[in-house]
């Protein structure tokens, strides 16, 4: 995709947003987790990637504006501003408390309201349906002054019940506001229940098209799709644009997700450590396209995308570092044209320094090199290039390789560590059981060294071992034959996710037990645990819970 900010860094920051928001809501004892979570990627894509802004100069003339019309997403919004550098992380936890600058609904900063706000908040929300009109005012002013500022507005689908949204919808095309971008957080839930029952909004796409807007539709939890759409709208002239971001309310915490009960309810504080663990444990599935039929990588990429894969894992083999040869940068460049899914390129090649530029130019999002083929100096050289290009750097180690000790000094410069669970070179090899212990040990050591990046397991990962790999600390799962080995790719991916879910629930239950709130947690989590009860061995226990 070619992110300005590294893809995995973006993922991590969005994770931070959710973690901060849920802590703030739990501390406050009230707030809206649902909307904060459905909009987390949207705010992340804007604040950490797309918008021109500068926390050290919040009133910079050339800044882009973010108008948060659905202001009840305040906890997520404040968290995003904290991660972006406008306020300290700690201050987010003062949300909704007496004397805090973080009001229940954000307030535009002004000299008069400096105790209710901080520089960087452009708009006072709280009453729904107004922000888009305000954005139109800003957009008219900037356009007529010949300025290049862009105005991004977040609106909600419940909020779209308000008539004023449609007054605004009608007026923006009149003023040809191509500097105005609206993002609809389409989570389909409002305070009283599901939007299509309370006040149907569909066909929402047709509505906006009829109002003469450019309309885009994306998965609002896929940062790469959001960024792709945000880039596209910039090239359009004469019309305002709306990006319909299909989202899940409460996304990130399974018992809150798509559940109207969590629109505006705070979790009990005692749940916080478990919720934080859940947010940290998001698993990404990365199908490796060299598995299965050798031909037609394009088709495999498309199938993975349709099946809901998170990344495309690209095994580049040069026939020298490994005995086999697969494909090189030119192939990646071709594949780049057909998908917005992030590319996780795994270079199993000799002399990576010599070739790295080709892979940067092929617009990979993650580029991993092998520890076996570079020393510290070469690593740093390559690393510098990747960081400069906004690409997530990774390091891979083979089953027989020890984690190089010099790498501990540079952990803040890598986003992913791939721990091979087969000897690389061919698809379809058997998982080496010993690699589990090694992975667990390295995970522990990395954590000790304050590593914030991902651990990726690569080699023979399937439904039989995914849970153990999860327990050993991996959160990116490369899956070859487990995805492409049989015809139904969608259900293969679903099966892998299911295994990841079981592993997660087991882990969360363990924490609940340690914290002495197992019963309470199971009660809260009941509807998630019921379908997994058998695999978790908690059928009777769950049955006993009222």
């Amino acid at each position: 995709m070619g992110f300005k900010m590294r893809y995995l860094e973006l993922k991590r920051k969005v994770k931070d947003v959710r973690m901060l928001a849920i802590q703030a809501i739990a501390e406050a004892g009230s707030g809206h987790p649902g909307a904060s979570f459905s909009a987390a990627e949207i705010m992340g894509a804007l604040y950490f990637h797309k918008m021109r802004h500068d926390p050290s100069r919040p009133l910079w003339d050339d800044r882009d504006y973010f108008i948060n019309s659905k202001a009840h997403s305040a906890p997520g919004f404040y968290a995003a501003l904290a991660v972006a550098g406008y306020i300290d992380f700690e201050e987010v936890k003062t949300l909704r408390k007496l004397g805090s600058r973080l009001q229940g609904h954000p307030v535009r900063y002004s000299e008069l309201q400096k105790h209710h706000s901080f520089p960087g908040i452009e708009y006072s929300g709280g009453s729904e349906g107004i922000g888009l009109s305000v954005s139109i005012g800003i957009a008219i002013a900037k356009k007529s002054d010949g300025k290049r500022n862009r105005i991004y507005t977040l609106i909600g689908d419940g909020e779209s019940n308000e008539g004023q949204i449609w007054e605004a919808a009608m007026s923006a095309p009149k003023f040809r506001l191509n500097n105005l971008v609206t993002i609809l957080d389409r989570n389909k839930i409002q305070q009283d229940g599901f939007t299509e029952e309370i006040m149907p909004l569909d066909p929402v796409r047709d509505k906006w098209m009829a109002f003469n807007w450019n309309v885009f539709e994306v998965d609002g939890h896929k940062i790469e799709q959001l960024i792709d759409a945000l880039n596209r709208v910039e090239r359009l002239e004469d019309k305002p644009s709306i990006i319909i971001a299909n989202t899940v309310k409460g996304n990130g915490i399974k018992h809150m997700a798509n559940n109207p009960q969590w629109h505006g309810r705070a979790p009990p504080r005692k749940h916080t450590p478990i919720l934080l663990e859940e947010l940290q444990s998001e698993v990404m599935i990365a199908p490796s396209i060299i598995a299965g039929e050798r031909e037609n990588y394009e088709e495999k990429v498309r199938k993975a995308e349709r099946g809901g894969a998170d990344l495309i894992h690209l095994d580049v083999m040069d026939g020298k570092f490994v005995p086999n040869t697969t494909f090189f940068a030119n192939k990646i460049r071709d594949l780049r044209k057909i998908t917005s899914l992030p590319f996780d390129a795994h270079l199993m090649i000799e002399e990576p320094l010599k070739h790295i530029q080709d892979y940067i130019e092929a617009r990979c999002d993650i580029i991993t090199i092998h520890a076996e083929v570079c020393n510290e100096a070469e690593f740093l050289d390559i690393n510098e290039n990747l960081l400069k290009a906004g690409i997530s750097p990774g390091v891979a180690i083979n089953p027989d390789t020890k984690f190089p000790s010099w790498l501990y000094k540079h952990l803040d410069r890598i986003d992913v560590v791939i721990i091979m669970s087969v000897n690389p070179g061919f698809a379809g090899q058997k998982f080496i059981p010993d690699s589990l212990d090694k992975m667990a040990e390295i995970s522990k050591e990395l954590k000790k060294h304050n590593y914030h990046g991902y651990i990726e397991a690569d080699g023979g990962i399937d439904a039989t071992n995914l849970q153990q790999v999860f327990d050993a600390g991996a959160r990116i799962m490369v899956a070859g034959n487990a995805v492409y080995g049989s015809a139904d790719i969608n259900s293969n991916i679903i099966q892998l996710r299911h295994k990841a879910n079981v592993a997660l629930e087991r882990k969360l239950l363990e924490i609940a037990t340690i914290k002495d709130i197992r019963n309470d947690w199971m009660k809260t989590r009941k509807h998630i645990l019921i379908p997994l009860a058998n695999e978790l061995g908690i059928e009777e226990e769950l049955h006993a819970i009222k």
Binding site: L112, Q113, S133, V134, G137, A141
Partner: protein, 324 residues
Amino acid sequence: MQLSSERKLADMRSAYGDALIELGLNDQNVVCVGADTTDSLKTKKFGDKFPTRLYNVGIAEANLVSIAAGLSIAGKVVFASTYAAFLPGRCLDQIRNTICYPFLNVKLVVSHAGLTVGPDGASHQQIEDISIMRTIPNMRVLVPCDAITVKHLIPLIAKTPGPFYMRLARPSSNLVYDEHVNSFEIGKASILRDGSDATIIACGLMVTEALKAAEILQRDYSLCCRVIDMYSIKPIDAQIIYQAAIETGLIITIEEHNIIGGLGSAVTEVASESYPVLVKRMGVSDIFGESARDEEIEELLDKYGLTSNHIVEVVLETRRKTKK
């Protein structure tokens, strides 16, 4: 205070439109937003002069005030105008949350306030706006009595940061002030006629009625009444009210507005806390108005107790009560 010597008619809306153009010539940042009433509000003239600085949003008042808010966020000095009937009532929420709370530089200038709208009837006769607007923190409320006042207040509010609500009347009216008067200040009032037997405090078109009443009271009853034009209702000139209470012992207020919450209430609040005297509020007595043809406006005002003869009666009666 120099009052207009001749009876000269002028309308406040044209004065507003002209003042806007004058402002626009001096300041590129002045813009105007309308809601399908730019012809009536005389802001169209501003648009003719500065085609890229008048934005007509159609019949969409909520959008009108919110777009105005956005323009001010982007650094503009914004005048947003339509009929009084549709702004404070329909857009209270937007005015409160989006403009007043963040103290945005938006000037809401509305016309057709009060009963003198005439033929359109009660739906268009705004008699609650002063009350509604003055209860919002950060909002300032101005009610000029003639075209001269409008001419001078418009540049004043343009250069004073923050939100204003200014209420104009539809009909042409007598000029109260001499053209050369320029002593208007936000938070101040004018003593148009001095006296010590009673004080009549008025705003808007009722200032003329108050002056007429004072004339009659002098001529027929030898009573010397002080007449105050309270064009700035919020902030209000507390000192002038306090002085009136001490020096005249009786205050009568008159406004083309419901007697609840408007000028009368504002004056009462000050008097009762600084120097309690009898304050008699005159205005629309908490009822809805009705249609009247333009030539019947005088009769309409009379029917609702808003003419000089009613003021005379009230002054005489309240003096009898206080002298007991």
